[in-house]
Amino acid sequence: MSEPVLSVRDLSVEIPTRAGIVKPVDGVSYDISKGEILGVVGESGAGKSMAGNAVIGLLSPPAHISGGEIWLNGKRIDHLQGEAMRRLRGKDIGMVFQDPLTSLNPLLTIGDQLSETIQTHLPIGRREAEKRAIAALDEVGIPGAADRIDSYPHEFSGGMRQRVVIALALCAEPSLVIADEPTTALDVSVQAQIIALLRSLCRDRGTAVMLITHDMGVIAEAADRVAVMYAGRLAELDTVRDVLTRPQHPYTDGLMASTPLASQGQTRLHQIPGSMPRLTQMPDGCAFHPRCPYAQDKCRSAPHPTIDGGRAACWYPLLQEAAE
């Protein structure tokens, strides 16, 4: 396989608080290749959005990258500050946020917003930029793009707005798009449209996509590989089919079993006892051990397990025998 578009190595994010330093992202590593969709899944507070924001340099202080490296197309980007980072955003990395209404400027027409982005990043004139804007809207499936270019965001429905946001993220032809819960605010039928759109754009242009979501169903349909996060650490990382059908980490296993989709026909859903530990009160050893049905002494003592070449960050991964 060729060199990955994005390569994150041992990334950690720290936030100093009164209760001490907390690590919302702790030693996370993954690659995304050209044309690949990497799903990042986890419950709220697992650090999945924080990891995405770290890549695009949108951590709000006092949160900061405290360790690790981020490489984009062979260039190291985790040190970049101010203007250099600003030029990278939009040009090399596009971003799609959850709520399409708050990520568009209500006072500018969508044509203005698109042309502004294009002109900021590409050396072309206003006319040419407008032409590109129409082409971009056309590409994301907005009917009558040439007529809608002078519309304001409020004149679009939720699904159409999210298409505009995707057009905005893609208009400067970035090599990586980070989509943070792009379909969570949308209805099921519109969600299916947006997923299909993301997938076809990714395939046609070879854009790498990091798809952050909590919805296992969306991951199953859209992603090629999936990274499961728990309490700021990677729990499991492999192809979607393997992780979802033969999970090796007990957390992934529990998560899968507790979705109503997976336990059809049973009267009770599988329950993971307890809840995710607070970042200020992280247990020693594996972060999942207090809730893990298979925990043993080794799990309770430091250091915590890492993926390290394998698939799951677990001392005693499930299904070992079956896999061999």
Binding site: E43, H214, A220, S258
Partner: protein
């Protein structure tokens, strides 16, 4: 089995007009939004009836009319055989009303942050002037929290724990019907499983009847005994979970099920559904679904279909078979 709730021809129209001066200056007429349009349904005692639909389909409006937070524009709501709109006996209305409780979607917004958990939970009973000694502690234990939590404030709890507090509050007055409006939409998957299991247990232990309002088809399939699918304020299909999920009859239900993400749908190529929900202020003539329907014919554009029995299901479609 007898019907605990009977809803007939239920309609709710909201006036969404601009203020009169704007209408005068801009020469606009009044605008009305039909949120719920002639819905008939019955909920059997000790069952879970689920209403599903996308945003704007009127599912929450029906729930609100059932508990009395909104009054119907037309139609009847009959609970325990008492028609709440026409009944004149105040004591009778009060006794029926105290048998209905509601759980809301957002456990962060539905608990008063300045009240202690004990006061929040006992409020439905205390407001009637009844004895609440030890009630909060007993209920907290019932929903899986610690009785000692009664003295705490809501901010000390996580989302799932707060939803348990909401459930405890709903149980305080010994209700028979609980309207659950998206009870787990704000929760994570593993917490959702805990809350759904708790709801099933309570239903069996206390003989509760649920009206479950949600957009999540997977939750519905797991929880419901009977499902009503809403589209633009109209009930388009009603069936039990097995026949609804295995042999959906209405084209909208078929589209919805096809579009829903599947756990086993690795790299599944679906033709995403075309179009979006039309503007409810100006709904399409005839069948509300016809502009998006793949099999629509002339009659669908002219005449609104009536609900009819097809197999095990009630379907409002001219062509379903």
């Amino acid at each position: 089995m007898n019907a605990y709730v009977k809803i007939k021809g239920l309609t709710r129209i909201f006036d969404v007009s601009k203020p009169w001066l704007n209408r005068l200056v801009e020469r606009r007429s009044k605008a009305f939004l039909t949120a719920v349009s002639e819905v008939d349904l019955q909920i059997e005692e000790r069952t879970t009836y689920a209403l599903v639909g996308e945003s704007g389909s009127g599912k929450s409006t029906i729930g609100r009319m059932l508990v009395g937070l909104l009054s119907p524009t037309k139609g009847e709501v009959e609970i325990e055989g008492v028609n709440l709109a026409t009944e004149t006996d105040v004591a009778k209305i009060a006794s029926v009303r105290s048998n209905i409780q509601m759980i809301f979607q957002d456990p962060f917004a539905s608990l008063n942050p300045r009240w202690r958990v004990r006061d929040i939970i006992v409020e439905p009973v205390a407001s009637k002037g009844e004895d609440t000694n030890g009630l909060a502690e007993r209920l907290l234990e019932q929903v899986g929290l610690h009785p000692g939590d009664a003295g705490k404030f809501p901010h000390e709890f996580s989302g799932g724990q707060r939803q348990r507090i909401c459930i405890a509050r709903a149980l305080a007055s010994n209700p028979r019907l609980i309207v659950c409006d998206e009870p787990t939409s704000a929760l994570d998957v593993s917490v959702q499983a805990q809350v759904l299991n708790l709801m099933s247990d309570l239903k069996d232990d206390l003989g509760l009847t649920y009206l479950l309002i949600t957009h999540d088809l997977t939750v519905v399939r797991h929880m419901a005994d009977r499902i009503g699918v809403l589209y633009l304020g109209r009930l388009v299909e009603e069936a039990d979970p097995k026949s609804l999920f295995e042999t959906p009859k209405h084209p909208y239900t078929q589209m919805l099920l096809e579009a829903a993400p599947r756990m086993d749908g690795f790299g599944r190529e679906v033709d995403p559904p075309q179009g979006e929900i039309p503007d409810p202020i100006d709904p399409p003539k005839g069948c509300a679904f016809h502009p998006r329907c793949p099999i629509a014919t002339d009659i669908c554009r002219q005449e609104r279909p009536q609900s009819r029995r097809v197999g095990d299901a009630l379907v409002a479609c001219h062509l379903a078979e």
